[in-house]
């Protein structure tokens, strides 16, 4: 929708049909298609028979999209950028940029989705019912709810909803203009708002989480939108490349630009959960059904971070000396706050939420470095590639950790209070061992993926000249390590305080596979990160 000519009523141009590169955008279409098929299934199949077909459609869709993504990634063309070469091209009339980082993000989003689907489809933990409420319309504790449980009702709409959210994330990661970005943001958010409120147990907090997420999400996206409007006002276009031209030319109204940058940043900060825009994170992570939390934690963060990077590196790259210090400060605040507040948490999900805040801070460290590589030194880790790698590791570990949360239960459902986790190491060495592994990965201990991730973002920051930020980062890592380690202490070294320890419900094979796969990936990314790092590195720069 870039248009430069002044249009008048008498001078109507030929409206050419937009060129749509179906081959490149295939994965998004596949996901959207699968979601639509899911809706159709909702309409045509009787209630009791929807579950398996829905799962099937979703899994097939995601797997197919993943295969297509691999194909797309391999077929991306190399483009010579200013400093570092990129791969890919702008598609859909400039609305999307199907480039290396974007497609890489698709890949990890689809993997996260596949893993999360395993948790969505888990039915053994709740006596044959899905972890979502049977009938959302019933008030918690009402007779209707009991009746729904009795009847074995399930909301199978969660699968299409999740696929829509996934498609939003994929679009968000590749959106090349601000309006597409806004729409994608809403497409990814709206289904998530709903999903957050659908927990089977503890519905009150689930609904509260949905309300908070919705109100705050809407509030923050308005900031983003207003920022987009100002950016448009500054440059006359929503396209990132065009904005970049205007920024680099330093033509327009500088305060306008700064305001645009600030407001867009606010929307992004909110989505990635950076302080002081993070306050929704703990509440929503805790209240939402755990499978949704897992998906959200991994997916939203990845999509939002890449979109964030894209806007700032592509559109506002010319003004980086203006925004880098701010990112710098926000990174420190986020890291410190996330790590510090985690220490005092007593709820596993809440602790993981604050940990995700801390990780947002670490990611921002790599961002603040804004190292985009230099010609002739292509192998050197850049901000983008380090963040891509970090997101991969963080997402996989997060999903694994939340998956374990779904399994540790007592009579009231998930036993998320930390004290209930005491002695888990004896109860179930496998689960406790995996959880410990995820914690060590979060803490950045070598031989786990988290370590390589930390290494990457710190090296990007240092390459960008911000070594003091690296020092702050490592010190905060030590604080963060403290609460991860505390969980290990609890699981392995502490004996349960009250007589009945945590019951580890026997999950279905799906959840076990998800946990094992996450753990394997976490270790693999730590031991032989080469291939993934290589992919991330060869994703190259953003294509504009």
């Amino acid at each position: 929708m870039s248009s430069t000519a002044l249009l008048t009523a008498t001078d109507l141009p030929d409206i050419a049909a937009p060129e749509i590169q179906y081959a490149l955008i295939g994965p998004v279409f596949i996901i959207l298609g699968a979601a639509l098929v899911g809706i159709v299934l909702e309409a045509v199949l009787p209630r009791g028979k929807r579950f398996l077909p829905q799962v099937g459609v979703a899994v097939v869709g995601v797997v197919a999209a993943l295969a297509d993504t691999v194909w797309v990634y391999r077929s991306l063309d190399t483009v010579q950028g200013s400093s570092l070469e990129g791969r890919g091209q702008v598609a859909l009339e400039g609305a999307l940029s199907i480039d290396g980082p974007g497609v890489f993000t698709w890949g990890i989003l689809l993997v996260f989705a596949l893993l999360s689907l395993g948790l969505f489809a888990e039915r053994r933990l709740e006596n044959g019912l899905s972890p979502f409420t049977g009938r959302a319309a019933d008030a918690p504790g009402s007779a209707g709810e009991a009746e729904a449980v009795e009847a074995g009702l399930e909301h199978t709409e969660v699968f299409p909803l999740m696929l829509f959210a996934l498609s939003g994330m994929m679009l968000f990661a590749t959106a090349n203009d601000l309006i597409t970005m806004f729409v994608a943001l809403e497409v990814l958010s709206l289904p998530l708002y709903l999903l957050c409120g659908l927990a089977r147990r503890r519905r009150l907090v689930s609904q509260e989480a949905a309300l908070k997420y919705f109100l705050l999400g809407a509030f923050s996206s308005v900031f983003f939108l207003y920022g987009a409007a100002l950016a448009y006002g500054f440059s006359g276009s929503f396209g990132l490349a065009e904005i970049d031209l205007a920024v680099s030319a330093r033509t327009g109204d500088q305060p306008l630009l700064l305001a645009a940058i600030a407001l867009i940043a606010v929307g992004m900060f909110f989505k990635i959960g950076a302080a002081p825009f993070h306050q929704w994170t703990p509440d929503v992570y805790q209240g939402a059904p755990t499978p949704v939390t897992a998906f959200m934690a991994a997916g939203t963060k990845a999509a939002a971070f890449i979109a964030f990077l894209r806007v700032f590196f592509v559109a506002f790259g010319g003004a980086q000396w203006d925004w880098r210090p701010t990112i710098w400060v926000v990174a420190i605040i986020t890291m410190v706050l996330g790590a510090l507040v985690s220490i005092a948490q007593t709820d596993v999900k809440r602790m993981l939420a604050y940990s995700s805040v801390a990780h947002a801070g670490f990611l921002l460290v790599g961002f603040a470095g804004a190292y985009v590589g230099s010609a002739g030194n292509e192998d050197r880790i850049t901000s983008v590639s380090s963040i891509l790698f970090y997101l991969s590791v963080y997402g996989v570990s997060s999903i694994g950790a939340f998956a374990i949360v779904t399994v540790v239960r007592d009579a009231g459902g998930e036993a998320t209070h930390l004290s209930r986790w005491a002695g888990l190491g004896k109860e179930s060495p496998f689960l406790a061992g995996c959880f410990a592994l995820f914690m060590l990965s979060f803490a950045g201990i070598p031989l786990t993926g988290g370590f390589i991730g930390k290494w990457g973002i710190f090296s990007a920051a240092w390459s960008g000249g911000y070594w003091p930020l690296v020092v702050v980062g490592v010190l905060v890592s030590a604080v963060a390590a403290y609460f991860y380690v505390r969980v290990i202490v609890l699981m392995f070294f502490t004996d349960p305080t009250d007589a009945p320890g945590p019951t580890v419900a026997a999950p279905s094979r799906v959840t076990t596979v998800v946990i094992a796969a996450s753990a394997a990936a976490t270790v693999a990314l730590g031991l032989v990160p080469g291939p993934v790092l290589d992919l991330a590195q060869h994703a190259g720069a953003f294509v504009r």
Binding site: K212, L216, P255, A259, I261, V266, F269, D322, T326, I343
Partner: protein, 625 residues
């Protein structure tokens, strides 16, 4: 044979360690093996001595490298021995007296269930002491030096169940370590300055280094010597060391180990020759110790402690002589050897007395023992006459020479040594009187009886040596013998003829002895010691060992204890407290930061709004700045 000198060390070492590891089966015969080992060393020592003596005067030195001990970069230490006239004399003294004391101990320790271990330690001591005197490198000396310290530690604390013995052993080791500090630093200084720690090279080339280096080296070595030889200010351990079995006191704390300091000074003659200041320090230390030791000897009622004070004093003589430089080295060694005979003799005699008196050491409980213990008395008397310098006895010759040399050095020093001789006569006479003469003051159920032959034969041998040891000086033999090691002795011409000097000395000795006889021989001796408050200050000071322990306590022990307690406290509260405090602060900060997370959507929205404003302001600020 001279290539096999290492066997001197190896035989007792193997015997000692072997018996230690062998275990209980060796209890029955272990002591015999140990004694034979020591005797074998003595025989070898004699053979080696004869061979050495058979050589030309300027060929009487053998250096033999066994293996390289330490080599790294420029640091090179050979495990080597250096057998020369000085070492040869020491070898004979150590193995000779050592063997006698082994024999004596067979009887003395007959009823101790841990006798085998005692003999093991004795063997180890002999090996270490021989290492010390045979070493060709200062670091190897240090090996023997600390080795004898270990043996001394083990033997003083042999009766570990007595807390006083354990404490005395610990004290001896720690005080010696202070001396060793000096010795270690001296060796480091040698390495830094000269690039070698070989004794011969160091002493040969120290002249080319500056005098201040030589002085520093000499003073540091002196510190080491003070520790080992119980010289002021590191004297305090020796009297406590009497907690050990009496043969140990005789061998280690009288005849051999405590004289190692003198050996060190004489062996390092090159260094001391190069520094007047260091020599003066040695003289001062020797003189002060000589007088302090004598003083203590006068006041003690414990027979072993009185003898220990005497030992200090006599070593003071030797030290002083060594400090006189080439004029005194040979006399220091001469006195060292005669002292080794008569003091070992007297200690063993004291042991025999204690044996008779059920291990009572208080002389006030003795008296009139000359009839009950005739052999002990006779041999003890020989030692007594030797130490006070009765003409014709060994001590007469050796002490005479030192006093003469001291007068040649400085009149005041000479007077000091002369006074010392008088006091020596006093306290030794006192000891004789209280022990063997006067009234019986025995406690009930004590029935003194002469010791068995296995104990008295060594006494007789040593008694004979005390009498005849002076023969070493015949024709200035010892001076000539040591000349290749310590250099030529210049003769000081005294203001008065030597014979007159001797007469004066004998007179002073007579006065001292007479005074003691009048006080303790003629008058009855109280069988309970008068309280501190009832005696005059010189006695009180002597009894309290010149307040050496109190001084150490105030200057060293309590400050260290205080520092230790403070540091332990600071370590916990300060350094660790800082760290744990930091952790606590983080916890508090965590709690505080939770407050804004109040669960209210509107306040979260406010956070977003405020954050947005802040980001905007920050961006503007950056741009404007």
């Amino acid at each position: 044979m001279l290539d096999l000198v290492w066997l001197l060390v190896a035989i007792p070492l193997v015997s000692g360690l072997g018996l230690l590891v062998w275990g209980k089966e060796a209890d029955a015969w272990g002591h015999l093996v140990a004694t034979v080992a020591s005797a074998a060393s003595f025989v070898l020592g004699v053979v080696a001595f004869i061979e050495l003596a058979g050589r030309d005067a300027d060929d009487r030195s053998v250096t033999h490298v066994l293996f390289t001990w330490i080599e790294a970069g420029p640091f090179h230490v050979d495990m080597a021995y250096h057998y020369d006239p000085l070492a040869a004399l020491f070898v004979l003294l150590i193995t000779g007296v050592g063997t006698l004391i082994h024999v004596y101990s067979i009887g003395y320790m007959a009823h101790d269930e841990r006798r085998r271990r005692f003999f093991c330690f004795l063997n180890i001591f002999v090996a270490a002491m021989l290492t010390l005197v045979l070493a060709a490198d200062y670091l190897v000396i240090f090996l023997g030096w600390e080795g004898v310290g270990l043996a001394s530690y083990l033997l003083i604390g042999f009766w570990q169940h007595k807390p006083s013995a354990a404490a005395a052993a610990k004290k001896a080791f720690v005080v010696n370590r202070v001396g060793d500090l000096g010795m270690a630093l001296a060796i480091m200084l040698m390495f830094a300055q000269l690039g070698t720690t070989d004794i011969a090279s160091v002493n040969a080339s120290i002249g080319s280094a500056s005098t201040s280096v030589a002085t520093a080296m000499g003073l540091l070595l002196l510190l080491g010597a003070c520790g080992k030889s119980a010289q002021v200010p590191l004297q305090s351990w020796l009297l406590d060391a009497m907690e050990g079995p009496t043969p140990v006191s005789a061998l280690i704390h009288a005849a051999t180990m405590v004289t190692a300091g003198v050996y060190l000074v004489v062996r390092s003659n090159g260094i001391f020759d190069a520094s007047e200041a260091a020599r003066t320090a040695v003289v001062v230390v020797g003189l002060v110790t000589l007088l302090v030791g004598a003083w203590i000897g006068c006041a003690k009622d414990d027979i072993k402690k009185a003898l220990a004070g005497s030992t200090m004093s006599q070593i003071g003589y030797m030290m002083l002589a060594a400090g006189l430089g080439p004029a005194g080295y040979a006399f220091a060694i001469f006195h060292l050897i005669t002292h080794g005979f008569f003091k070992a003799n007297m200690f063993l005699g004291a042991g025999s007395v204690m044996h008779a008196m059920d291990d009572d050491v208080d002389m006030r409980h003795y008296g009139a023992l000359r009839t009950s213990l005739p052999i002990t008395f006779a041999t003890f008397a020989l030692g007594y006459l030797a130490i006070i310098g009765f003409p014709g006895f060994s001590g007469f010759f050796s002490k005479d020479k030192i006093i003469e040399a001291a007068f040649g050095y400085n009149v005041w020093v000479g007077l000091g040594t002369l006074l010392g001789a008088g006091v020596t006569a006093f306290y030794m006479t006192r000891l004789m009187m209280m022990t063997f003469f006067g009234e019986k003051r025995w406690r009930d159920e004590v029935h003194p009886h002469e010791s068995p032959l296995v104990m008295t034969i060594p006494l007789m041998v040593l008694g004979a040596a005390s009498l005849l040891g002076g023969a070493l000086l015949a024709g200035d033999w010892i001076v000539d013998w040591l000349e290749p090691v310590v250099g030529h002795t210049e003769h000081h011409e005294l203001a008065i003829p030597a014979l007159a000097m001797s007469a004066i000395i004998v007179a002073v000795v007579a006065v001292g002895a007479t005074l003691a006889y009048l006080t303790y021989g003629r008058r009855p001796v109280a069988d309970v010691a008068p309280l501190d408050s009832q005696v005059r200050w010189p006695v009180r000071a002597g009894r309290h060992e010149m307040y050496g322990n109190e001084i150490n306590e105030a200057l060293v022990v309590r400050p260290v204890q205080h520092t230790t307690r403070t540091l332990v406290f600071l370590d916990g509260r300060g350094i660790d407290g800082f760290v744990t405090g930091l952790a606590d602060r983080l916890g508090e900060a965590s709690q505080a930061l939770r407050k804004p997370q109040n669960g209210l959507v509107r306040s979260y929205a406010l956070g977003i709004f405020a954050g947005a404003t802040l980001v905007l302001v920050a961006l503007l600020a950056v741009t404007l700045a």
